[in-house]
């Protein structure tokens, strides 16, 4: 068992049997960071001594001894929090974000702050894809996904407003989970577009993500059910944006689910859902520019992508914004019909493998639909596409069906024992 590749249940077993100490686990991950992160640049700050001290402390809890990364839009009381922005350089919050404190309270060990697009937006950090330095790892939780994919953290916190957890997780070949809107506590998170902002996690498996979710929700960890729920394939109106390999992988996954005995069907999105992309652009820009008002006196220090969304937002009228909010409510009200008899939707997560270039974190459209609808959503890797790069799928549940979603993802990931072992 290699600590920088093992899942939480395996690490727990090694820790409780005494085969590994928390310090062993921390040192293994620090070593990995020293070796790899000069190239990958997943971390903006590593907390070596703090992590060692935490590993030596006598702590208990379900996450004892597990080093995790923290997207740098989440406040930490012992490390600066810079939001990927020059204007927050060296900023020192007084307290940990609620999610960080919850994980620490459960015994997990903060190993560092991970690189984020500025304000969790679209101006990418310096992070590169762990398998190809010329490709984006996705974003805006770029550093979190790259750190977990490269074995530099057991799991890492991210945030998703459009597709900022699911997309980098899919590009990097790891699991990513965004809970239903509003379930995890938000204190200490920088608001971006508050109608969508959701904290989530990237991890080595859906099973690991389920453990983090249970910790956040103060719920018992759930065993794996024997049967799969009813799954509908939802190609979405963006199916044409998929590469043929990407599309085939999703369809093959659907076949596997069917063969495993699940009831299946097809789900299609109502015509008006194709306008969600447009509504999301309006709501996102309006809310972001509103939330940036306090920072705007220093907008000369914003990166160009942030200045641009701020400016676009200011040009949107309140009437237009409210009209988009209303349209979104209508879409949410029809969500139950989209699911129909299905309990879980299988949907594409990204068009293809991580694209070339570090100037963009990729296309958010396939992920943002579900963020807007407040659905919990998970990605797991399902194989390799072009150049051996990871391909993933997306599973989506109705709001508040997070546990069913994670249980299903755990069942489906068992079909892919070889997926995304690239760096493991």
């Amino acid at each position: 068992m290699i600590p920088t590749k093992a899942t939480i249940p395996d690490l727990r077993a090694a820790l409780s049997s005494g085969k590994l100490t928390p310090l062993d686990v921390v040192e293994a991950h620090l070593e990995r960071i020293r070796t790899l992160d000069r190239g990958i640049r997943g971390f903006v700050r590593v907390c070596e001594q703090g992590a060692r001290n935490a590993a030596k402390a006598d702590v208990h809890g379900p996450l004892r001894g597990l080093p995790f990364g923290i997207k740098d839009v989440l406040e930490t009381g012992d490390m600066p929090t810079e939001h990927g922005s020059a204007i927050f350089e060296g900023a020192r919050p007084r307290f940990d974000a609620a999610v960080v404190a919850t994980l620490r309270g459960a015994g997990a060990i903060a190993i560092g702050k991970t690189a984020t697009a500025e304000f969790a937006g679209t101006a990418p950090p310096a992070t590169t894809h762990p398998l190809d330095p010329a490709r984006t790892p996705g974003g805006s939780s770029s550093g979190s996904a790259a750190a977990v994919a490269a074995g530099m953290a057991v799991f890492a916190l991210g945030t998703q407003t459009g597709g900022s957890v699911l997309r980098p997780a899919a590009f990097c070949g790891i699991a990513g989970f965004k809970p239903s809107y509003g379930l995890w506590p938000i204190a200490g998170m920088l608001p971006a577009a508050h109608s969508f902002d959701t904290i989530g996690v990237v991890a080595r498996s859906a099973g690991d993500a389920a453990i983090i979710h249970a910790t956040m929700m103060r719920m018992p960890e759930i065993g794996l059910p024997d049967t799969l729920p009813h799954v509908a394939l939802c190609r979405t109106h963006l199916w044409d944006t998929l590469s043929s390999q990407g599309a085939s992988a999703i369809e093959a996954a659907f076949k596997l689910i069917e063969q495993a005995g699940a009831r299946t069907s097809q789900a299609s999105l109502p015509e008006e859902f194709s306008r969600l992309t447009e509504h999301r652009a309006i709501i996102n820009a309006f809310e972001r520019s509103g939330n940036m008002m306090g920072l705007a006196a220093r907008k000369d220090k914003f990166r160009k992508e942030s200045r641009s969304v701020y400016q676009r937002g200011l040009e949107i009228s309140g009437e237009e914004y409210v009209a988009s909010r209303r349209a979104l409510e209508v879409a949410r009200a029809s969500l139950d019909d989209v699911f129909g008899l299905a309990e879980i939707l299988l949907a594409p997560v990204v068009p293809d493998v991580a694209p070339m270039g570090l100037n963009s974190t990729g296309d958010p459209r396939l992920q943002e639909i579900w963020s807007m609808l407040h659905c919990p959503t998970v990605t797991i890797p399902i194989g390799e596409g072009l150049g051996g790069l990871p391909l993933g799928l997306q599973l989506v549940a109705r709001p508040f069906e997070d546990d069913l979603l994670l249980a299903t993802a755990r069942q489906v990931e068992a079909f892919y024992p070889e997926a995304a072992r690239h760096l493991r």
Copy 2:
């Protein structure tokens, strides 16, 4: 025209004609603070020099020269932000909260930070009712309401999670407005229970509140319509908690609206709405305790009410919380039926005048229903009850009907030219 009593349109007229300068307006309010605030304790910090400097600067904008108060759970870049808590003593945020920056950008002048219940919860600040030092001004936006009622600020920002804007406004005999959930930007606000938290405003009239709302939403200010919308009297399942004077005042208001030519009807809440109080207690405690996780290492410094809600929240299971969130979604989905043909509901806002005692900020149940349902809601004073203390009413609209709500409130407040002139 007395600057410490005048509404925004009157102040604008005096400022633009040159009868008053911004510095005159600021000095008048500072004088009022010097005279009254040792007794009322509405402010935790007054920004004398900053306000004078701002008044001397050459600024433009729809709120030019208007001094406003800021509830101390909203961050300010030039004043500490302490959230009513010892653990934030002297805390200095780097930037203004988005709402504060928006108001300053429109020319308004921050005159000080107003007293808040700890973490916008239930541990009351030292603020007293402007008309009777033995009575609560309401809370948690206690200082904001007292400051506006006593002519120490033209308007003031508050936040409402249960009834923290509407209740103190009603007790203090001023206008209070809570927008639809999620309309105003939230960056720089301390999260309490994020499913409900909403920034709002207390003001000298509903007309003034409408001006603030237009500024926040970057919308033009709206003229007064000629006709009233369809208004339904909604007594709620808590009608029995009203004093006879409180109940009569609401019924008299309904009669005035009817006599003014509005279509009217009666609205009743479905049986299951009576359980909203219980669901709110669960959601509120669970979310607050979650959001307090980062602060919990210093919970020995929490006030007893905050420690108690933190502890209660920790005892609620995730399952119970999610069940209450689901129940609330069901109630939201039936809201349209509650309104029926009506566009506006007339509802009670508080059981009676401000109660005696400074250990509690009063009963939130009549206000929190609408916070939970994400409705915009407004209170205006409608006369006097026991001891000459103010009585108010509450008007409620469907989510996103904020403009209609404010327009209606302006029409209704015109029926009460003499209401709540106590300190004006």
